[in-house]
Amino acid sequence: MKNSIYDASKNVFLDNIDVREYIQLDRVSTLYKSLKDSVRKPLKMILLYGKPGTGKSMLLSKLHHDLSSTQKVFIYSTPILDDSEFFKSLARDLFDVKYLGELNFTQLMLIVKSKLSKNYKVPLVLLDEAQLYSSEQMEKIRLLSDTRIVKFVITLHKTDKEDIIAKEHFQTRIWESIELKNSSKNELRIYIQKKLMKANCFDSANMFSKNRVNLIHKITKGNYRDTNKLLYTFFNIYSWYCYNDPSAIDSNIASSKIIEMSAIQTGLINA
């Protein structure tokens, strides 16, 4: 019986972006509300930035999910690095134009002009991992946003290089920038427990006392992706013990030894 609990708990922390698994935390909810408000404003661009694993992609997916019923919104989760392919994707999604052959920026702008009308509603394009786009592509995206025929929400990893990109291309255009940060200890505790309880893993949720969450926070520094990775391995190891050596584990409290073993296994602790 216990085995199924640990297996179910393990699957909760699979690293995938599923808006149904979005965990509402106070700070993240506030940021999400502010992101939604920004989308309603007549801004050319909105920048969502933060370190990897802080929940940018999840927030972007949620925004897409929540707005798709009320407005035209498109999400580009993986960057399209080829110029022609990128413009063709935009032409297809925004204006229902299926372009055969190469499509350059000038040709795209002609399509845009031909499609403008009085009832035109500015669509929203969500670009994830924007730091992967080249400078030239970013410049063209900027020019496109200047026409006000499309609004972009882009996410960036926060590094020195990406700060430069942000400065060069968007400094004067972005009217809203939202930074996502790693969770605090309390937020991480709520995150873990809510995530497990959402999957009806109540016993597993009760295993994470304040001390154990503090240990996890110490290892992952509150990074959601690292926490997911760590806890997936943690429940995997628990599951192994449950099958092979049940007396070695305590089902009432998360073993700090196994938390550390998980950190070693996932490379979060260098041992």
Partner: protein
Amino acid sequence: MLNINELETRWRKHKIKEYTPLAVIALITVLIGIFSIYVVSTQQVETQKEPSTLKADSKQEEEQKKEITQSSKALKKVTLAPSFKFISNIDNDIELDKKKEEKVKKKKYVEKTNTILIKRQSTQEDISYVIKRFKNNNDPALSLFIAKKYYELGEYDSSYNYALTTNQIDDSIDDSWLIFSKSLVKLNRKKEAIKVLKKYIKHSNSSQAKLLLRDIMSGKFR
């Protein structure tokens, strides 16, 4: 695929690595603590020792001074002058005893006359009185007193006997051994006196005994 055994080994190594610096710091702290306690305790012992050693030094100096003065006196007078300070105590004791007796007698006298008669006894009588007391309490101070008195009176056989008795009761009295040796010399048993003094010096390291031995051997004391 999980390899739990390998993972546990890695975890153990990690814990050792994690706690090694702490253990080293703790060990160093404990060692420093022990060392500092040791240093402090040794300093205290030294400070406690210092005055006593100073005292010992000053005592040694005093003894040396005494030896010098005594040797210089011995050079001048040739004969030794033993200390009779304790005699005053004994005298006091005798006087106290006498007073007690007098008090008892006083009452009788008060009935008859108001005058107190103090009868001065001769030295011989004194000795016989002390001998009487010595027989009662076997006090080595009394036997030594008797030996000294006999020595003063030139009765060297008696002084020898009482000094010997004193030594038998308490063999650590310097004066008794000195009187004993002197008496032997006076009884023309110089060799025995030297032998006794040498043994006594070996045992007690007495400076007075050394002086006397030197005098006897050099012939200054006959």
